[in-house]
Symmetry: C2
Amino acid sequence: MGQSVFVGVDIGGTKTSVSVAHNPPLILWRAEFPTLPEKGPDHAIEGILQRIREGLDANGQTLHDIASIGVSCGSPLDSKSGVILAPPNLSTWKAVPIKQLLEDQFGVPCYVENDANAAALAEFHFGAGQGMRNVVFLTMGTGLGAGIILNGQLYRGSGDAAGEIGHVRLSASGPVGHGKAGSVEGWASGGGMAQVAAKAAEQALADGKSSALGNTVADFAQMTAKHVWEAAQAGDKVACDVIQTSGERLGEAIAILVDILNPDRVIVGGLALRMGDAILEPARTVVRTEALQANAERCAIVSAALGEQLGDIAALCVALQDGLHGSLSQYALMK
Amino acid sequence: MGQSVFVGVDIGGTKTSVSVAHNPPLILWRAEFPTLPEKGPDHAIEGILQRIREGLDANGQTLHDIASIGVSCGSPLDSKSGVILAPPNLSTWKAVPIKQLLEDQFGVPCYVENDANAAALAEFHFGAGQGMRNVVFLTMGTGLGAGIILNGQLYRGSGDAAGEIGHVRLSASGPVGHGKAGSVEGWASGGGMAQVAAKAAEQALADGKSSALGNTVADFAQMTAKHVWEAAQAGDKVACDVIQTSGERLGEAIAILVDILNPDRVIVGGLALRMGDAILEPARTVVRTEALQANAERCAIVSAALGEQLGDIAALCVALQDGLHGSLSQYALMK
């Protein structure tokens, strides 16, 4: 029998990864495969089971060596029962009892968290939130959500739905996110930034100006935050203004969090990893004027520190949680 | 030696009350006196010391019978060191070490919390938040602030300044609260409602309409939320519209809290005690459309249950906190 290991499973709309670790955040082995949600949950679950077995084999271990399994996945889900309810990025997944499936298969405890909460745990324990007490992690991908650590503990809310800052309104109208025009997700997520950019490029075209963001309506429909960033790096003025706008709106959202939660740190993942200060500096400037001075001064706004490893370490952090449903296991606390 | 007692001290801008209890929330004895902040903190502190001694005498007790003292007071303060920093409603109080003063005088532990946090504890343990896990209490007096209980624990924030929902912006311009035009406090506190009413009455006058809110500029300058409520009860249309507006803006603020914190309950004190559904029903309607459906359905929006006793019980709840700075003592947990 080998040394006991933790298994992390990070289920995304595009790819699913499985990682194995004795001693997180150090990862011994990992593998990923396309999730292909259009093929239904069984396809991905089969892939997960197979990769877990491969990961054990690769390290000379058996099923008996698993200490626990952590699953990180999109909302909504029920973290207590471990059921994935109906994440928008996994359109065919409806009420998938992932916890029970994995526990039945491997006979070890399995914990399930939404990806924002899992990433918040990872940055809190091993990344930019180390040594802090109150930390907000913002996902900034296609959508925008928050994982919240308060008094050193993950805060899930009464219905597993805390952290929905993406749904908060910033303006009466505007780009749509989380089903709401003018929301934080509409203005400041990757999907929102693409909408802001499409509109800005369309305006540039109407004004007879050229922009690297594209010059046809077909281009605008294909817009992504990646296009915006590439155009901005090439010096395109319209693209730079779009990033400035989304950064300022991100700052309005962070100011709300800073006034309500008075955190030590707000950590931004996703786009902020690539764009860095181009998006965070406009946000910081807005927070300094919009939030209470003492709260703003208290709170640093930084990019996630775990970079490309964040998703894997996030899923492993979920595995580290003990049966008390909230506090980390003794193992993690000793680190 | 008598049975041990808890002492609560509620320091407000107008009056200070001292209450004594064996078995909170049952109050054995209470007294109040005018705080008179213009006379400086020493005046009120002398009054507090005297009333505590009177309260003990009245119950046949001595200083040795005090278990602990709780102080509830306006922000900003430092709850760890127990120093009252510079509350706007106590203009002459600057860095008053109330905890040390009372501990030196009576030789028992003294705890200090801001009034919103203290009221949140009181409603959580003995009022409308009983049996819940996540509760937000909103003060709705001259200002507007929040006391937040998460995972059954008071959440103070990193610099004792969580809960500043009153400072959050709802509109680019508008009535001023917390030093910010268009803020939640500007729109929905008592002071904010008075501004909304003054503007509405001025408009009514300009339009040649009569309103019970007053018909001269001098009236508008004297406007209070109490005037608005009295006029509304007499059926004044302008006053009713003002309450509707403040209630809707309160709903926008609650929707933000509901999306970010996913609480079981939002409990509103102050004006809501008097105005009830006249202010809460417009708020509930807005929350149903502005917040995420699941989060809105989860969260009841109610008036504080402890009514006129809230301030006294709030201060006593501060006394019930043990030295761990956050959890309630065994005494309270057994209840």
